[in-house]
């Protein structure tokens, strides 16, 4: 096979251990009583050595620029380079949040236009760009729900309903804001309307859903779902993680959701940076627009300005105005793609997903009905007869230069593999991926169990890491 992958291996080359001898600080301008005695143990190394160190580390890291990254619900599409170019400019980086509005006209215009375009894409009335990530968007959304019910004299509403397919951030957000979580089981992979009806009552503050859901199934009962929740006075929250499936086809607002977040680092292709920064703008209906965090950007005649004057605002959720350079990248991406491009993106994402799913049926199990949106979840149960598990398949894929899918999620599927190829992959890559999975199924199970072999390190002992945690160089030294 032409797909054998080799990642660079540079064994053991820590920088921290190169720190100098313990060093006293000389000529410290601060008085003795408060001055630091020992200098922090930060090594002094020539710059070129530092650059070599990090270049080696980069060679031991796998990004979307290295190969297929079919992590379900993460939308790891190619990140076009023009957005990086634009974001590197002085007009983006060298501006201060407390500069006079006359000096940041460009930024305010872009933020305003992004608010407007996102509102249109989501079918919402107004948008805040402040939240730093999807999970913070969820937090913002539930804060708005909290404030809305309080203003309406209904602060007794203390329950939030979630389907059991929800992303982990949803239940975590619910508890973080002190709500009682009511989780309802799915029926055929979708929201069970009867169970929802039973769960919804006068204590329901809201319901959170991603549509298509985490199985990649479109919740066809969405209209009924909205009715059930609205009838008891609750609000509907749309988790935007899976928006890449539906652009130009439907909108959360059209599906009667009241609040939603956008993951700009997913749908709008801002790079994920190995774990962030992202951006999680939140959109709301007209009724809720006065509850958004402040400031938002408004346009008065031809002038853009920061507006702090929202009647019911929840106040801030983050310092300053959001992850601005991430916002700029997403803005540029939307300008480049336009309405036609965004629609094409969703169409191709869904086509790629259904094609790859069809290619893999027969090799892995596919629970629930067939038609999927941008992602699908298969079960690794056929691995069991070889004495293997999903994790083994995932690790062996790494040897072939593919990032593994999301594994063991959603929880309602046994040995789950959640696969999202995104629109930017060619048919040939999808074919390769399917063929490699078939190949792995026919490989010696013992060998597969020991995978990976071609990566910088072998299978990593995560249990040991958690049992005796070493979180810093200083904890290691104390050992």
């Amino acid at each position: 096979m032409s797909h054998i992958y080799r990642q660079a291996k540079y064994p053991n080359h820590p920088l921290m251990e190169k720190h100098a001898e313990e060093r006293k600080i000389e000529n410290n301008p601060f008085p003795e009583s408060i001055a630091r005695k020992e200098a922090p143990k930060i090594p002094d190394i020539p710059e070129h050595e530092v650059v070599r160190h990090f270049n080696r580390l980069s060679q031991m890291n796998f990004g979307i620029d290295n190969g297929l990254y079919p992590l379900g619900s993460c939308t790891m599409k190619y990140n076009p380079k023009y957005t990086e170019d634009l974001a590197a400019s002085e007009e983006v980086n060298d501006i201060h949040p407390y500069m006079h509005e006359d000096f940041i006209k460009g930024t305010l215009q872009i933020m305003y236009e992004l608010q407007e375009m996102l509102a249109e894409i989501g079918g919402m009335h107004s948008v805040t760009l402040q939240p730093a990530a999807g999970a913070q968007g969820e937090l913002t959304g539930l804060m708005i729900i909290d404030e809305y019910h309080k203003k309406n004299g209904e602060s007794h509403r203390n329950e939030v309903i979630l389907p059991d397919t929800a992303h982990g951030t949803n239940p975590a957000t619910v508890s973080m804001l002190g709500y009682k979580l009511v989780e309802i089981p799915s029926k055929d992979g979708c929201v069970d309307l009867e169970a929802l009806e039973e769960a919804a009552n006068e204590n329901t503050a809201g319901f959170m859903l991603t549509n298509p859901n985490t199985l990649g199934l479109f919740e066809e009962g969405v209209i009924e779902i909205a009715e059930i929740i609205h009838d008891v006075g609750g609000l509907l929250y749309y988790d935007g993680a899976n928006l890449n499936a539906i652009m130009g086809k439907t909108k959360p607002g059209k599906m009667n959701f009241d609040i939603m977040h956008f993951n700009l680092h997913k749908t709008f292709s801002t790079p994920h940076g190995g774990g962030g920064p992202g951006a999680g703008p939140v959109g709301v209906t007209e009724e809720l627009s006065s509850y958004l965090p402040v400031p938002i950007v408004k346009k008065e005649e031809e002038k853009y300005c920061l507006d702090y004057d929202l009647e019911n605002t929840i106040g801030r959720v983050k310092g300053f105005y959001g992850n601005w350079s991430v916002l700029l990248k997403a803005y540029s991406y939307i300008i480049r793609e336009g309405c036609d491009g965004l629609t094409d993106i969703s169409e191709r994402a869904v086509l790629n997903s259904n094609y790859l799913k069809a290619r893999l049926e027969g090799t892995l199990d596919l629970p629930y009905r067939s038609l999927r949106k941008h992602e699908f979840v298969m079960s690794g149960n056929p691995l069991n007869e070889k004495g293997l598990k999903t994790v083994d398949l995932a690790k062996r894929l790494l040897d072939y230069g593919f990032h593994a899918p999301t594994v063991y999620f959603p929880l309602i599927v046994d040995e789950a593999l959640m696969i999202e190829p995104t629109e930017t992959e060619r048919k040939e890559t999808l074919d390769d991926f399917a063929e490699i999975i078939e190949e792995i199924m026919s490989e010696d199970p013992k060998m597969v169990k020991g995978a990976p072999y071609n990566t910088a390190v072998g299978r990593v002992d995560e249990t040991k890491a958690a049992r005796k945690p070493i979180i810093s160089f200083r904890m290691k030294e104390e050992r």
Partner: protein, 442 residues
């Protein structure tokens, strides 16, 4: 035949639209924005708008209050620009993510060296959210319900905290500041440490730029009241100042923006979050741990994940998932490129320039700098003889960004501005500011 047709044929379909047949007609809608552009047109379009901005480079800049303009070595930008780093996702698959994992472990280690704490996470969104999460964590670690916060903290931080506490039974009580020193009023703090106390927050340098000395008092108060101490700090100042671990802090928060990250309108930055070993399992956010691979080689992985939302769901310590990892990488690169001695030099330069400027301002009639009779690092409050707004406006006429007004945010203050100085401010910046302030009183 093009590949889309081939795929459709494989699926037995004629049109891609058939894949959307499960979306009910009553929710169908298309997008009403402009059509797309070429890459070349996009670049021109966006650049034209961006050109309406004026960068800090065009001014004599003294803005701070949480965002600082320091020099960033080219090597830092180069490293962060490696696409193996910036196009990777959260390092769930440790074996092919060793690069990012090790870099983040090093970032955690560097933060621990500066703060004196045992463990740090890979980042929170920023300083205000790190602070809010720290108070929530105190609630998991401590006993009481009342948390004390000095009244002189950044107003945005307080707003974020109040929002994060919506679902919590923790009650915030404010502690006065000493109007002469700008430090926390220790008598008031002591008085308010009641039986129901959960913990208290101390910040140094604080929003007035003031540094707390006499820090041993905090440890005593903490021990006596059995409460949790959260310390807020500026990481660069810690190359010269005793680390918060010495004052007995349980949790340290701050922002690494001053270490290798441009101002970029206030985001993205990196919220620092560090704590003592004993609280490790109550921490929010992501942590990288050192371990071994199957051959016994040193390896890194995300660890203690059973605290996190993707495993623990509603029982997670926080809902945070995506954080600011790439910015943490930038900070680690910055610290390594500068080195321990280099960082110390930057800090000393900042200190000297700020103190020199304050001395010059203090000589101008009517101005008083620093406003508070206390130690400070590279940021300080200035009392102005005329309305602080007018000082800022006068500055703008002369291309000087003369800080931000403070008296509109803290009512006990007389007319005053907050100025920040870094190594980027040269002699001419300082001269221009001094001339501006002299014009003000003429």
């Amino acid at each position: 035949m093009d590949e889309e047709k081939e795929m459709l044929e494989y699926l037995g379909l004629d049109e891609v639209e058939e894949l959307f047949r499960d979306i009910p007609s009553e929710v169908r809608d298309d997008i009403d924005i402009d059509e797309g552009k070429t890459e070349m047109e996009t670049i021109k379009y966006v650049k034209d708008i961006l050109s309406k901005n004026r960068s800090l480079d065009e001014f004599s800049n003294f803005l701070g209050a949480g965002i600082y303009r320091h020099y960033i070595p080219s090597a830092v930008k180069e490293i962060v620009g490696r696409s193996e780093f910036y196009t990777s996702y959260t390092p769930y698959q440790a074996e092919i993510s060793q690069g990012m994992l090790q870099a983040l472990f090093e970032y955690q280690s560097l933060i621990c060296e500066l703060t004196g704490m045992d463990a740090a996470n890979t980042s929170m969104y920023d300083y205000p959210t790190a602070f809010a999460e720290a108070v929530l964590m105190a609630g998991r670690v401590g006993r009481g319900k009342e948390f004390l916060v000095p009244e002189n903290i950044h107003w945005e931080k307080l707003e974020v905290l109040n929002n994060y506490l919506r679902g919590s039974d923790i009650k915030i009580k404010t502690v006065d500041y000493d109007e002469k020193t700008g430090k926390i009023d220790k008598d008031d703090l002591q008085e308010k440490l009641t039986d129901d106390n959960l913990g208290f927050y101390v910040e140094s340098p604080n929003i007035f730029g003031v540094i707390e000395d006499d820090t041993s008092v905090f440890e005593d108060l903490k021990t006596d009241s059995k409460s949790i101490m959260i310390a807020g700090t500026s990481p660069l100042s810690l190359t010269l100042l005793e680390p918060p671990s010495e004052w007995g802090a349980d949790i340290v928060v701050g922002d690494s923006q001053s270490l290798g990250i441009p101002p970029s309108f206030g985001g993205p930055t990196v919220g620092i979050f560090a704590c003592k070993k004993r609280h490790l399992r109550r921490m929010p956010g992501r942590m990288i741990g050192e371990t071994e691979d199957s051959d016994g080689n040193t390896a890194y992985c995300m660890t203690l994940q059973t605290r996190e939302q993707h495993i623990r769901r509603e029982r997670a310590t926080s809902n945070i998932c995506t954080n600011q990892s790439l910015m943490a990488l930038a900070s680690a690169c910055y610290m390594f490129v500068k080195g321990g001695k280099g960082l110390e030099e930057v800090a000393k330069t900042n200190y000297e320039k700020a103190h020199k400027l304050a001395g010059k301002i203090d000589k101008i009639e009517g101005f008083s700098a620093p406003y508070f009779n206390s130690l400070y690092f590279n940021e300080f409050t200035v009392e102005t003889p005329i309305d602080s707004e007018e000082v800022i406006s006068k500055g703008i006429e002369n291309n000087v960004l003369a800080g931000i007004t403070l008296d509109d945010k803290f009512e006990k203050l007389d007319s005053s501005v907050l100025l920040s100085v870094t190594e980027m401010n040269d002699e001419s910046d300082i001269d221009t500011l001094i001339e501006t302030l002299e014009e003000v009183v003429q």
